[in-house]
Structure formats: structure tokens, C-alpha cells
Subunit: 118 residues, 2 copies
């Protein structure tokens, strides 16, 4: 049951437009192909997205995934250049509101890992 | 590399008091024993906590973990009753501000999983 591969964990956050809630969920449902095979191809495993409405009424998405390759930047560049992934982002980007304080190259904001226990 | 056990994934969110940032991080650092062995004992694996400051200046914590046992409610009840865990929560609870719209029995708010890809 132990994981024998070397993984790096990522947590990211972004706002979801309230009027895109159902559209976003439908795009990510099990029955929608999405870009699952591209995640696998580029060494992204165990990818989950969670949704929650905050007290101010805004919706936020939180993603968790594990990178199991040996060159994250290279894999992300490759993924970014996949035409199928670009078409996917044309569907998902309009649903999202990136945080204003994000880094220049970010859509989702990468969070800081402050704890981990295998 | 595949996972052979049946897992249920959880994502949770809570606010972290700005003046408790360093204290909370120190409690969760690798060098602090915390309650890691109790998580393992009660079938909670691959537990990560991420931290991020939102545009309004507030800090939020996001936890991700996998439950690999067969009776989640029972394990959580057992965990809650561990004296060592109660002492742990006496340290961590004062650092946190639970969301106002949480469920009656919640400290952290459980989020909805809207996507998963192994």
C-alpha cells in the first residue's frame, strides 16, 4: 500500500463564477472525457477538485494533485502546448475568476504546503 | 504504482488567524510530533494542509486526506476521543476561525468533490 514513487504535491485555488457552477460541474463529471488522458500523459496523478461556498457567498475551487515525473516545468510546458488542452482551457477559463494577488504566470494560485503526513 | 485499496478523499477548509500564522506552521512542521501516529492509527493517509492568503487579506487553510478504513464515522469518533488528540485540538483550535456557514458538527468545513482523476 505504500507509494514507491517520488511525488510532489500541489494545492491550488481559484474563484468559480456563481453562474457557471453547473457548467463547470458538468465539464468535470465522470461522463465528460475532459483531458484526463493528458494529465496522465504528463505525470499528473491523483487529481481532485473541491468546491466550496464561502461566507461572503463566493465560490472557490481547490485542486490537489501529485506530480510523479522528473521535470515538472517541462511537463507543464508540454501540457500547455497540447491543442486539446488549449481547447479545454477555452471552456474552463471563462468559468473562473483568478485571484488578483496571483503570480504573473498563474491562472490558479499555488498554495503553500504547511503540513504533510503520509 | 497503482493504489490497491479503496479510498475516500476529503477536502476541508477553515480560516487561519493572521496573528497565528507562525504558531500554526511551527505546530505542523516536520520536527513537531503532532498527532501523526493517530492519523495513521485511524486510517487517515496522505494528509496535506495548504495555506493561502486571499485578496481580502484573510488566510485560509485547505486540507486534503484519504480515508482508507471501512468505517469513517467510527474512526472519527475514536480519534475525537483520543486524549492526545484533544490536547492537540486545544493548541490548533485557537489558531482557526471556522466558517460561519459550516455544518453544526464541523470545525473545518467539508467541501464538495467535483472532479477526480486517478
Amino acid at each position: 500500500m505504500s507509494k514507491t514513487y517520488n511525488i510532489k504535491r500541489f494545492g491550488n485555488v481559484i474563484e468559480l463564477k456563481a453562474d457557471k457552477l453547473e457548467e463547470y460541474k458538468a465539464l468535470h463529471s465522470d461522463s465528460h472525457p475532459g483531458v484526463r488522458h493528458l494529465l496522465t500523459k504528463h505525470n499528473i496523478k491523483n487529481y481532485s477538485i473541491f468546491l466550496h461556498q464561502f461566507d461572503d457567498g463566493k465560490y472557490f475551487l481547490f485542486s490537489y494533485f501529485e506530480y510523479v515525473g522528473s521535470d515538472f516545468d517541462h511537463d507543464m510546458e508540454q501540457l500547455k502546448n497540447e491543442p486539446e488542452n488549449q481547447r479545454w482551457w477555452e471552456l474552463t477559463d471563462p468559468c473562473q475568476i483568478p485571484l488578483k494577488n496571483r503570480q504573473p504566470d498563474e491562472q490558479w494560485s499555488q498554495m503553500e504546503e504547511v503540513y504533510h503526513n503520509d
